[in-house]
């Protein structure tokens, strides 16, 4: 039991390492922005952050189960996800960003731009969207997160035949910084917004900014995956 406790600790640490690595940074920022945009309701931000983290854990434990039961091999899964998920991610972020900014609207019958009904829809989508976001972002492995997950965590998981617990703890750790910063951002914005008595305006702008972040992140991924242009080289 002691050894497993150490393994849990390592899994947690690996998750933290993953979240502070440069290559998942774009998705982390997008996640913080998405989860934190509920400026009027910091408690909903906390819930959203937890749902996002749950989504990540679900993705990791599914892979964990698949690998521990030897249904597939780590190299196959690792490269499959690295190759295809990141290609899907760019366009997905782009489209989601366009929806969030209101550029694309489902509400064709409203007449005016961002109607009340549309805003309500977005709010409802928010919670379910957080889980989906967590799953999608977790599956979009970049070389560093692949090394930490498939190269370090999975061997330990295989040793203890733990396809659920260790990956879940890993997933929890990858989501914690997002929860932390999202709540921080939301609380800060909420305080400022309350001071000026403009909470609704702040909320609308928070969503637009999130949309813009998603669009930028989408471009970042499209450039990287389809044109092999590394934005990091520009800094």
């Amino acid at each position: 039991m002691n050894e497993f406790a150490i393994a849990l600790g390592s899994a947690f640490w690996l998750g933290i390492l993953t979240s502070i690595s440069p290559c998942p940074l774009a998705t982390n920022i997008a996640a913080i922005s998405y989860v934190g945009k509920d400026v009027a309701n910091p408690s909903r931000v906390l819930l959203g952050g937890m749902l996002y983290t749950a989504g990540r854990s679900i993705a990791y434990l599914v892979i964990g189960i698949i690998l521990v039961s030897s249904i597939l091999s780590a190299p196959s899964v690792s490269f499959f996800l690295q190759t295809y998920m990141n290609k899907i991610l760019g366009p997905l972020l782009l489209v989601t960003g366009l929806v969030l900014t209101g550029a694309i609207s489902f509400d064709f019958f409203s007449g005016n731009g961002i109607s009340q009904g549309f805003q309500e829809k977005i709010k409802k989508m928010g919670m379910a969207g957080a889980i989906v976001l967590g799953i999608v972002f977790a599956l979009s492995f970049c070389p560093v997160s692949a090394a930490l997950f498939f190269g370090s965590l999975i061997p330990v998981a295989l040793k203890f035949q733990s396809g659920v617990m260790l990956p879940s703890v890993y997933g929890l750790a990858t989501g914690l910084p997002v929860i932390f910063f999202a709540v921080l951002v939301a609380l800060g914005a909420n305080k400022v917004a309350s001071a000026f008595n403009k909470i609704t305006v702040f909320e609308i702008w928070a969503r637009r900014i999130t949309g813009a972040v998603f669009i930028l992140a989408g471009f970042f991924y499209i450039l990287e995956q389809y044109f092999h242009v590394s934005v990091w080289g520009w800094f």
Binding site: P22, V77, M125, V144, A146
Partner: protein
């Protein structure tokens, strides 16, 4: 509710992706705990002349495997790996008994390396070749843990490469 529907559809797509990968992966995973692969060979006593002859057919290749996408950490790994090999073993490189090769595994002709060395990501693999046949290989997977410490990284790669060169199989 439209929102829940959307979430379910998306989740189904994700599950479909995972299921498709079932179809793509035809064989079962081998429980490979072994990282060093050494075929069983008889260690016969050799005379100095024979040792010399044997060593002439011996070569060590250090492969740095990367893909089309070059992330910042990946670039560092390649840079440090090249540095450790090229600067630490200039004699061997001149003689041709050690070589550093950067290989793109996203290129079709190189994709076999993924299964050959059970790669999960960018990796540094040192391989010992005797008379044209590979007799031993090792995936230096500590590089991911050491990439933040330049000196320890270089030391690790040099140590392992030295061991591979000197090890008589």
């Amino acid at each position: 509710m439209k929102a829940i529907k959307a979430a379910v559809v998306l989740s189904l797509i994700v599950i479909t992706i995972i299921t498709v990968s079932f179809a793509l992966d035809g064989h079962k995973a081998e429980a490979s705990d072994k990282k060093e692969v050494t075929p069983a060979t008889e260690k016969a006593k050799a005379s100095p002349a024979e040792v010399q002859k044997k060593q002439e057919g011996v070569k060590v290749v250090a492969y740095y495997f990367h893909g089309n996408v070059r992330c910042p950490t990946c670039m560092k790994l390649e840079e440090y790996s090249g540095e450790a090999i090229n600067q630490g073993f200039s004699d061997e490189i001149k003689k041709g008994s050690l070589e550093f090769k950067s290989v793109n595994i996203d290129e079709g002709s190189n994709s076999h390396f993924v299964q050959d060395y059970q790669l999960v990501t960018r990796s540094l693999v040192i391989s010992k070749i005797e008379n044209g046949k590979e007799v031993k290989w090792k995936n230096l997977d500590m590089i991911w843990n050491l990439v933040r410490d330049h000196d320890k990284y270089i030391e690790y790669v040099k140590e392992e490469t030295k061991k591979m060169i000197e090890d008589k199989s």
